[in-house]
């Protein structure tokens, strides 16, 4: 078969094809081997974010070397190509300033380490788990399983809240109680609920703050510390427990209402029947 091929293609060309195939096969195999060794040696101690950066660096470098070797085999002058690439790069750079801005912003984001893959973050009105941090954008997986792509340039100039950065968090609940209630009793009930709820941490102690005198209620801020993974369990349990405890203790959570007076609070509101009205 090789003899038949030789009729159509010259021998040096055949050798080049063979060499290119060998470079691709062995280069790819070597790259996979390097990845395997790196995974075995370092993977366990690395965070998901670092793993992604390391694997991408190895793969991009490896593929670049393979391409350069193939070009060399084809007797293409790499120096000339790189020079041309520089000129082309400048042209492309001017044409795609946004993309380059995104790449540079991406590098800053990665080095800043404000958030990593797996963190729950809030960007503007969007909240989700960091799915990937790429050269041009950040992919966010929302809690209802949608994928949002946010350009790195937008991220670097926007306020980003990392919700799960620290192991513990505080859940703030606003509670309103009627003006007639004994606030000491209300505080004791809230303290007891925090002590008895297994998802609420004993320390830091819960924050109970009488915030202000509202239109219809005295407003209290109830801040409970919890392990970040227990958010849903704590929220669901404590909301029920507050309601039940207040019902048992006869503490009223008032709905918004307006009291009308005719100048003096002690006098009843005068009602006059008009006999002419139909």
């Amino acid at each position: 078969m090789l003899e038949q091929l030789k009729q159509y293609v010259e021998e040096p060309t055949l050798l080049k094809i063979r060499n290119i195939i060998l470079i691709i096969v062995f280069g790819y195999a070597l790259l996979q081997l390097v990845m395997l060794v790196v995974r075995r040696l370092f993977w366990k101690n690395l965070k998901q974010q670092s793993r992604m950066i390391l694997s991408k660096t190895i793969l991009y470098t490896g593929f670049s070397i393979i391409i350069l070797l193939i070009l060399k085999e084809l007797n293409v002058k790499v120096g000339a190509i790189l020079g041309a690439a520089g000129v082309v790069g400048v042209i492309i750079g001017f044409a795609s300033q946004t993309s380059i801005g995104n790449i540079i912003s991406g590098l800053f984001i990665i080095s800043e380490k404000s958030y990593e893959i797996g963190d729950l973050i809030r960007v503007g009105d969007k909240m989700g788990v960091v799915y990937s941090i790429d050269l041009l954008s950040l992919k966010l997986k929302t809690l209802d399983n949608l994928l949002i792509r946010i350009p790195n340039q937008t991220l670097i100039s926007t306020e980003v809240t990392n919700i799960t950065r620290f192991p513990i968090r505080r859940m703030d609940i606003d509670i309103g109680v009627a003006y007639k209630e004994d606030l000491g009793k209300v505080i004791n009930v809230l303290k007891k609920l925090a002590t008895e709820n297994p998802n609420c941490l004993d320390e830091p102690e819960p924050l109970i703050l009488i915030k202000n005198y509202g239109d219809s209620s005295i407003n209290i801020l109830y801040g409970l510390w919890f392990e970040k993974s227990n958010y849903v369990t704590l929220r669901n349990s404590i909301m029920q427990e507050i309601l039940n405890a207040f019902r048992e203790e006869g503490i009223e959570i008032p709905f918004p209402h307006i009291s009308l007076y005719t100048g003096e609070a002690t006098k009843p509101f005068p009602v006059e029947f008009n006999s002419n009205s139909k």
Partner: protein, 288 residues
């Protein structure tokens, strides 16, 4: 009968058998921590702390239920019954065909934060000895104490979680609401509680305000005597508020009872000296 640990240390040179003789006078029996062989159609039932548990063996499957009961913390001896009066939702564990189960105590999987009822002030160059009672976890092994044979484990007493340190950098731990014990009263030590001997040495030149203490239970070995469970001894050297404390875990049996034998190994093997911030002087955490 009471014995001051301090007195014990003083008298230790004269007689090392003081604790043994005291233990023998009590009626506490550690009957739970052993191997039980299952007969056909028999269900094992017991209680430790405020957790009740039931175990059943069906061919290759262990059926286990644990249930927290809110009544008083105590323990019930292990019994085999023919049937149950209540409906239980069993968890199923496929294991080997061994028909025996080993019930062992273990120390909690997180550190324990001890909060004395009153802040103690330890003067410079002073040592202070005391005990804490740690509620143990219950480990169930199929036939033998090997890691691969562990079926499940659960706490005998559900302790509340707490945080030790600053909100951005600290340690998730269990909160121990019991006070520290200056004198051992064996009648007050239940068989699901392990005594942990602690010595604090204030090596600094300032008074140590002792209001929180983190005991890394995962690093302690658990020992069993004739009538008591106890842990390795813990020595904490305080060298100043701005420096980390040095923690030393006693190697070998604690010198409480000569009949103590190791019953469970530490969850994490300790290094010889552990530098840890073990004391925590309450700092006002910005809460708003």
């Amino acid at each position: 009968m009471d014995l001051d640990y301090f007195s014990y240390l003083k008298e230790k040179n004269g007689s090392e058998r003081i604790f043994t003789s005291i233990f023998n006078q009590t009626e506490i029996k550690l009957i739970m921590w052993t191997k039980y062989k299952f007969e056909v159609d028999k269900i094992l039932t017991s209680k430790a702390g405020n957790t009740k548990f039931w175990i059943n063996k069906l061919d290759q499957t262990w059926q286990i239920v644990t249930k927290s009961v809110s009544d008083e913390k105590d323990s019930e001896s292990v019994q085999f019954v023919d049937s149950l009066s209540e409906d239980l939702e069993w968890d199923h564990y496929v294991a080997d065909k061994h028909t025996s189960i080993l019930i062992l105590p273990a120390l909690p999987d997180r550190s324990i934060i001890v909060r004395p009822k009153h802040t103690l002030k330890v003067l410079p160059k002073t040592s202070f000895d005391f005990f804490i009672k740690i509620p143990v976890w219950i480990q169930l092994y199929s036939s033998a104490n090997k890691p691969e044979n562990l079926i499940m484990e659960f706490p005998s007493v559900k302790m509340s979680s707490t945080w030790f340190g600053e909100p951005d950098n600290g340690l998730l731990a269990y909160s121990l609401m019991d006070d520290i014990i200056h004198k051992i009263d064996l009648k007050s030590v239940l068989n699901f509680e392990a005594l942990c001997p602690v010595k604090i040495r204030n090596e600094s030149t300032t008074v140590l305000n002792f209001d929180r203490l983190a005991i890394e239970a995962e690093l302690l070995t658990l020992y069993k005597g004739d009538n008591i469970l106890c842990t390795s001894e813990v020595l904490l050297k305080h060298k100043g508020d701005d420096q980390s404390s040095e923690v030393q875990i006693g190697a070998g049996n604690p010198k409480l009872d000569e009949n103590l034998k190791q019953i469970n190994s530490p969850r994490i093997l300790p290094s010889k000296n552990l530098i840890k911030k073990s004391f925590y002087i309450i700092k006002s955490i910005a809460q708003y």
